[in-house]
Symmetry: C2
Subunit: 549 residues, 2 copies
């Protein structure tokens, strides 16, 4: 049996466009002599549809699309992810479903049984869980084939990410008991560092345990804060990888389960995966929001340099505008580094000094601030003057403003609301500072040239909002900070545990206090691209007016 | 049997403080000769604890608190809401629980069976559902009393808010079958317009159907976007209201189920309820975040006037700073109205003209904007200059900036990001413009004087960001706009349905398009106080990079 993997990039809510993508994949599959083609979880509506699922109109259009796809199906069967209606008188009323359509009919509609409701996932908010295994038999490839369906989480029963079993059911083992010939999994499984590797390991284990071949397709593309990495594939019943699609790109592949023939694309290593995830997330956010061009405030520092390089990779140098906005505290090397960057990247470059706005703002406040010492207020005024300039350019020319802050800053609140936090997309807001440096080196290595000036990589980081300032005036070294943050934010460790791992307890408590107290800033932050196991985005839901230490 | 209702205002995460509040209530109950005292759902940790529930430390401290409360209990039994551990090897691992503690012991721990996971509620994200009814018998008031426990949603099986039954179980009817003597419900049920009335109707129906007396306690206070209105009470088995606590205030009441004696506080009508909800929400946000003073940009318009009056009611006139920031487009009446307001309210009042910042910003952008016509960019520059001034005052003096935008503006994006949207709390962001006017009139009527200048109420609304601008240059009349928004946002109607109700179809489609396209603004909006059935807050989860019409 030849299985086609249609690793497509749907747009959330765009039922017509997504249906067209699915119909295209069906033609491709027919032309390639496939017996069946798999498209991702909820491909008809795009994942995650979020509260669009509360619109009856969306559900209805999605049902009409399934009908249309079924009518268009011939001898090549299709497994499509869509929303199905639960007719029972009780419950939420809809399922996250996979239908097998074949020769004009819907042969089987299976409802996802395990509904992830943690981190960025809210499936119990919308869906009723299915209760029965998804099994059907089709005459394909000259013989009767018994197919077992699963949807994404259905297969993630043994994820080591959780210290306990979340679910009582194991849909794959039910399919093995039903003696299916092959297990299919259609997913929309977002990227995080290490997750593609974990996914393969888990899937190999499940295929081996079930003693069945496993073919899986994953959505690809960026949808708001989530990037789906694709890397769809097939594994035989002994755990051998038979096929794998490209990562971070649309792809279409055929795997022949009988001859065991398929192409196996490699998985990118850590820095490449992070880079490509962010590039894809940026490109898709820009285009799916309908923007043509982007603008970035470049300071000569590492964060804005990496953001600009990513923007160029995402949308092309002719659509990126770099703006340097020196103040009275900017050093000469900053402006030089900003210009070198723009020259190396080949983007538009402008210098707009903020001194006049800075001075005017101080002027109107002078009598009110009389007798008070200079503090963070004066620093924030500069950051907000820059935000105002960048937003004016964004408003006037329709350029999407990309904000440049990293995860370490956002964690401890080392950033100015309505200042450097301005922007529609926070490209690096889930990338810890130490990782920003690694990505910078990777970018230069990938380009084989100094896209990001070496001095930007080697000089001590500074916000340059007062004389001779460096980040380490207010923060521990980024090595230490990032290690503490990773334990606190991603691994949910408490101060005592982190200190026990060898970190200075006062530093740990100080960092944790900063994280907790800056929730209000993150609440108003731009959408950021998730690349770690826990981002400050849709999967981070902390109270603000709270008292917990 | 005498039941005490401890309608307390917990702080989220503050286990020690909340435990102290519960112990206080126990003393009060003992002094008042009560047999049993009820405290609200999850009172030990405060509701909603959100992702603090992922911290093992919080769960452990909460368990120690339950032990402490149990040890402190004497002859007066206590029903406390807390987090309990689920020892099963599978599941999320915790319950939303109610324990009956009495004479030093935990007599019963009941796990909430119906977990709301819609709108602002995410309980399936954290909790496993309980599966057994909560029944125990105690020797109270000289006789054996069989008690039935429910927690909040457990009783909301027949809410007309939903067109279908969400749940298969009915915990109250199970308790009736178990022939309990009384049904208790401990809740943390947030306010929305009309909900207090709906709650009483529903509870009367459930008591009558079960043919049992029903005693319920509700949390009171503001926690981020949610305000809990209290109004705890008791209803006899024939549906008569025996007792009701005050709304929007801490309270402690005793109801004697035998003699049917209790005090019945009235429920405030619509405008009063909205006003008091917002005052409480503002007061608690300010104090629970640790602020002493607030600052508001006052324009002479209705939104900032109502916000300032609410701030004064919430924290007192000596802790409110009103700042007028005229531009070259401000009319004389605006500045007069702003000053009259501050004088009537008795607050600090300052005038900080933004012309210098405005002109400086235009100056640095002049060469870049050459040849382009003036548009919304130039308007936003003014709004952002004001945001920068207000945030500077906030940073310098530690005043919380209250933002003044209403729901109608936020819905259609008639507001400037990083401009008038600056602030920590959006006091009116769930109040439609037409309702802002009604609240303004209520405020003056309640005060018996013109706190809000009549001219502010009667003049046509204008942002004054260009010559002779009024809101109705860009928007339909607020009567029409609010009616369309209510149908689209709160009732989930589509364009066709709304047009069929008698609205001009082009207007309807234009409004809906504006709502959909401004999701990115709301994503970065300040926390707002929810007063309608659907706010643009934690219960509104729309994708941004989406295409759905």
């Amino acid at each position: 049996m030849k299985v086609a993997l249609a690793q497509i990039n749907p747009i959330v809510g765009d039922v017509d466009g997504n249906t067209a993508r699915i119909l295209d994949s069906m033609s491709q599959a027919a032309n390639a002599g496939a017996d069946i083609v798999l498209v991702p979880e909820l491909a008809v509506v795009g994942y995650p549809p979020k509260d669009l699922l509360l619109k009856r109109g969306l559900i209805e259009r999605n049902l009409m699309a399934v009908e249309k796809i079924a009518k268009a199906s011939r001898d090549v069967a299709v497994v499509i992810g869509h929303v199905a209606v639960n007719d029972a008188s009780q419950g939420k009323g809809i399922y996250n479903a996979a239908s097998v359509v074949w020769r004009g009919n819907v042969v089987l509609t299976y409802a996802k049984r395990l509904l992830p409701t943690y981190d960025v996932f809210d499936e119990s908010r919308y869906f009723d869980p299915g209760t029965t295994p998804g099994v059907c038999a089709l005459d394909l490839a000259g013989g009767r084939v018994k197919i077992g369906l699963t949807i994404c989480e259905d297969i993630w029963t043994d994820d080591l990410h959780f210290s306990r079993r979340l679910y009582g059911d194991d849909p794959v083992s039910d399919l093995a008991s039903a003696n299916v010939d092959v297990v299919f999994n259609i997913g929309s499984s977002p990227f995080a560092i290490g997750k593609p590797q974990r996914r393969v390991e888990l899937f190999r284990k499940k295929a081996t345990q079930a003693n069945k071949p496993l073919v899986y397709v994953n959505q690809v593309g960026g949808n708001d804060d989530l990037v789906f990495d694709g890397a769809s594939g097939a594994i035989d019943s002994e755990g051998r990888v038979l096929a794998r699609c490209r990562s971070f790109d649309e792809d279409f592949a055929i795997v022949d389960l009988k001859s065991q023939e398929g192409q196996v694309a490699g998985l990118p290593d850590k820095e490449e995966a992070i880079y490509r995830a962010i590039v894809l997330g940026t490109r898709d956010y820009v285009s799916k929001c309908g923007f043509e061009q982007v603008v970035i405030g470049v300071s000569g520092g590492i964060d804005s340099a990496v953001t600009a390089a990513i923007a160029v990779a995402a949308v092309g140098k002719d659509r990126v505008h770099c703006v340097a906005m020196p103040s009275r505290f900017s050093s000469r090397h900053s402006l030089e580094d900003a210009e070198s960057l723009a020259v190396a990247l080949g983007t538009d470059y402008r210098v707009i000094a903020i001194e006049d706005i800075h001075a005017a703002t101080e002027g109107v406040l002078r009598s009110h601030f009389e007798g008070t010492p200079a503090d963070v207020t004066e620093e924030n005024i500069q950051a907000r003057a820059r935000g105002s300039v960048l937003m004016a350019l964004s408003n006037k020319f329709g350029w999407l403003l990309l904000t440049t802050g990293n995860k370490s800053e956002l964690a401890v609140g080392y950033c100015t609301m309505y200042g450097d936090m301005c922007g529609g997309l926070a490209v690096l807001s889930d990338v810890p500072k130490t990782m920003v440096y690694r990505v910078a080196r990777y970018i230069n290595q990938r380009a084989g040239s100094e896209l990001i000036p070496n001095r930007t990589i080697t000089k001590p980081p500074s916000a340059e909002l007062r004389e001779n300032q460096t980040d380490q005036d207010s923060l521990p070294s980024y090595d230490v900070l990032d290690a503490i943050l990773e334990r606190y934010v991603e691994r949910q460790q408490c101060a005592t545990e982190i200190a026990a791992a060898g970190f200075d307890e006062r530093t740990v408590r100080d960092v944790i206090r900063k994280v907790d107290r800056n929730e209000y800033k993150r609440q108003q932050a731009a959408t950021g691209i998730k690349i770690t196991s826990r981002a400050f985005g849709s999967g981070w839901r902390m109270p603000i007016a709270a008292r917990y230490e």
